[in-house]
Subunit: 410 residues, 2 copies
Amino acid sequence: MNFQEKIKQYARLSVAVGVNVQKNQEVLVQCPVECAYFARAIAEAAFEAGAKDVIVHYSDDKLQRVRLEHASIDTLTDIPPWKAQSNNFYADRDSVYIMISASDPSVFEGIDPKKLSAQVKATRQATKPTVDARMSGKMRWNICAVPSLGWAQTVFPDLEPEQAIQRLWDAIFTAVRIGDSDPVERWKQHQKTLDARTSYLNRMQFDALHYKNSLGTDLTVGLPDNHRWKGGGDYGPAGVFFVPNMPTEEVFTLPHKDRVDGVVYSSLPLNYNGNVIDKFSLTFKKGIVTDYSAETGYEVLQALLDTDDGAKQLGEVALIPYHSLISDMKILFYNTLFDENASCHLAIGDSYTDCLKDHKQMTEQQMRDAGANHSLVHVDFMIGTPDLTITGISKDGTQTPLFQNGNWAI
Amino acid sequence: MNFQEKIKQYARLSVAVGVNVQKNQEVLVQCPVECAYFARAIAEAAFEAGAKDVIVHYSDDKLQRVRLEHASIDTLTDIPPWKAQSNNFYADRDSVYIMISASDPSVFEGIDPKKLSAQVKATRQATKPTVDARMSGKMRWNICAVPSLGWAQTVFPDLEPEQAIQRLWDAIFTAVRIGDSDPVERWKQHQKTLDARTSYLNRMQFDALHYKNSLGTDLTVGLPDNHRWKGGGDYGPAGVFFVPNMPTEEVFTLPHKDRVDGVVYSSLPLNYNGNVIDKFSLTFKKGIVTDYSAETGYEVLQALLDTDDGAKQLGEVALIPYHSLISDMKILFYNTLFDENASCHLAIGDSYTDCLKDHKQMTEQQMRDAGANHSLVHVDFMIGTPDLTITGISKDGTQTPLFQNGNWAI
């Protein structure tokens, strides 16, 4: 199968399995200018699948960098109404959303983290209806990854530009199960594996998880009553199955935002808005970060935690074996979509409220009381190591080994 | 001077001489995805000149082609409000507008001209405030040209891709007076030459022009009372000088829409919305096209003329010597911005009402009565040949030779 065919197959996978576009739906695509050819492949695939229209919003991080260097913070945070509407318009129209991710991990290196953080916050506030529609699954979404030169060269610094891009494409195709056998069928099989794990965890309804490893992590993460583990795809409110993340090797749920205690150490660098945060730790008391450290990107981490109150609490807990399709490639992708699938992780910030079993019958306040966190940010960070131990603690104190030496013990 | 320096100089020329950006203004940029590097250069130059912000709207003709192939005409003409607002928002805010032109002349080849024309019309209607703000000079604007691969290969079909792009860049730099001497100074000198021609024509106040050449053109174009010839730059309502077109070798005014009679033959192919119309003629009676022919692109011409009533009447008359900076390069650019400066031309469609001396004191109806044309389109087409004769006819019947053998006779 040649490269062009793989691109077509990837675009079809995103459209058919990812957002699962239905006849006469609109497809909103967010795409870096460097990856226009992939947006066009998505458009072809979407129309083939019966889409009504494909609307592509092109973004340009390098241009953003010029604006961040020169424009005032007032200008950068003054999001024009048309810009918010260019997203929110579709949140109200039963559309689906495909995001093409290609970011150069260091494109915003050296930019004042406060400026960057303020802009991200203002944009998220302005597009809250869209963000909410995605978080609730009302607007089915999917992320695809396309190598940009900056990204490929960060991952493979010793290769020539063309080679680096080719190697990264190969890794992406492997990760999303594109190849000679039918990827749609392979995704069905994979979903079954994830379903078995979520069924077990949902049955057990652990009261808390305890993490421990040689990095120094010693953390207890409480889980809400009636939490629900999810993995792979899910049904949107309209009853249509979709798979937001490809690859996805994780099973995840929401932690109880006020029942997190201890210290956790990062096991991989975190790329946040074009800045790298590395070798960092977070100390929690009653769910809130009370102390933190970072060998690289301390100020970026600080700005992130200072976004709002919710940015100092957890919003996601995800379990991934140390041996997985992604982690076995032994590639550090500097991209959360991939790296989060190579390692157990947590996220600070907003939680997926549909991980509460009765979320549809609950008010926002009831969900908060149950342990759901609210924030303008949701940032994953990796904590898995080859010696990670995770223990499930039941309400009656029973301890069940879940992970040993970084892998599932069940 | 290396390529990067020329790009910087070109961006500065567009910002400083083209739109003449003032401190704290916003700069709206329309840019094909393929030319993102040039939009970034514009952004750098604009911030250096004191701009408050630079907003870039990326366009993608190849994606548009996919939409035109698959989406219904209803979908294509249903311009979402945010899309109109993304332009109109800036028309109200004392912003300036830079358009980067790079179009592949045949990108829409084979697309149903009616579909294409309907979409262009719907977009122009939705963005009328922006179009009006530009036509009136309220929103100062400038067009830059950047080679796309498709464009470069159309102009230089025998060259390798990289070479074709390089040759086209060289031609563009020559045409816009980028080189070792200061381009800003060269533009000042050029403006003086154009000013001398417009002064003469404004003093003469010809009642009509008569065109004749061996292609078969035999056309009389009436001019309104109190018409005003313009050339090069102009002052916007805020009193700031700007130069919309670079290159610009023409002097132009508006014809009287109801006083055009005879037949005119095109002398160069016309690229209209990614389709080529070639070897065509238009026959006018009392200002209206009553007959037309085309060896190539007849249906595209038909769709163009059928856009609205104004699309069947003239909106511009422009004089350019057969020998000029552009025409002496002997390159057919397949791009109106350049080709219109290589040849005398006319435009069908909307006229520049500020070519009526007292336009500020006139109502829309008074301007129409004076001869101004209104249309959703404004499309230049070339009529200059090496044997073109143009005669100025005064109210008293006196005939003054204006052009002989394609060049100025005065």
